[in-house]
Subunit: 166 residues, 2 copies
DNA sequence: CCTACCGATCGGTAGG
DNA sequence: CCTACCGATCGGTAGG
């Protein structure tokens, strides 16, 4: 709290005029992150077209949210464990709903035939989200890969795989 | 330190008869984890056969190390940031070497023709490692997926993708 | 929003 | 390996 206050040019104790507790402040940041991810997913599923189009929009949206505010995204993705039981469960519920959006789109893809018929939807969603949730750990916006190419790379990897096409 | 001592039936201060500092203890655990991952990778690359066989061995080895000691693996994967500069850089160097093993195997796969000729090797390695490094976050050994099936699912996802085969 | 402060916790030491 | 303790840090409060 003293570090945060210093960045605002304040003393640590002055923060308590604006926030009731350290955990309340953390909750505010986490909820802002949760809202950003959920709004992105809600926009993606409204896209008409194939499930693959919506999957691409989910991936692009996730990358966009991460790059729009790295600190906020990281806080949402990694710091919920510092919350007390009730509030942590609420955050996990939001994340579950976000992940369910991916599963729904994958199921639509199987039904419409743009995705493999033998897909294990829950585990596939986990793999795709594993790739997305790691982006903040390694991606450098000033590197050789601009965000659009990153999205292409993720979607291409997931849809086509790395094996030589038979 | 007091919590750790309590699990051993000791007082906090007694630990300092066995270890010089809290960070030394962390380093010991991280180095044990690093050694486990590296030995797994060294075994995998010695496998004769196709690069795909070695990639499968890398994936199976990684999953095996994670499941053999979840706490040790998590400490290696996530807690290096708590180390001071020099020691953190040493851990990052070990992880870089581990990841380089994946890139080497992928390159061999491209050269021998079992993997797509247009593969972006560094980013592909990052995606595969993203999936592997997230396993400890969601996998339950008592769930519906035994470790062999998990390895199959990861390798299948990476090689074949989720798109309908054309 | 600041000064002054409190109680708890924590890594670690001295001395046995 | 324990008792007794220290100095630093931290979340937070009182009172202005």
């Amino acid at each position: 709290m003293r570090d945060l206050a210093a960045e605002l040019g304040l003393k640590g104790s002055s923060l308590y005029a604006h926030v009731d507790s350290k955990e309340d402040l953390l909750v505010e940041v986490i909820e802002a992150g949760a809202a950003a991810f959920q709004e992105s997913a809600d926009r993606a599923v409204r896209i008409e077209g194939t499930a693959l189009d919506r999957l691409r929009a989910l991936v692009a949206g996730h990358v966009g949210v991460v790059l729009a505010d790295l600190d906020e995204a990281r806080t949402f993705l990694n710091e919920a464990r510092a919350l007390d039981d009730d509030r942590r469960k609420a955050v996990i519920a939001v994340r579950d709903r976000y992940e369910a959006t991916f599963r729904t789109v994958l199921e639509e893809g199987v039904e419409e035939g743009t995705l493999r018929a033998d897909l294990d939807v829950p585990i596939t969603a986990t793999f795709i989200l594993s790739i997305l949730n790691a982006v903040d750990r390694w991606y450098r916006p000033d590197g050789r890969l601009d965000p659009d190419r990153l999205v292409d790379a993720i979607v291409g990897f997931c849809t086509d795989g790395i094996g030589r096409a038979p």
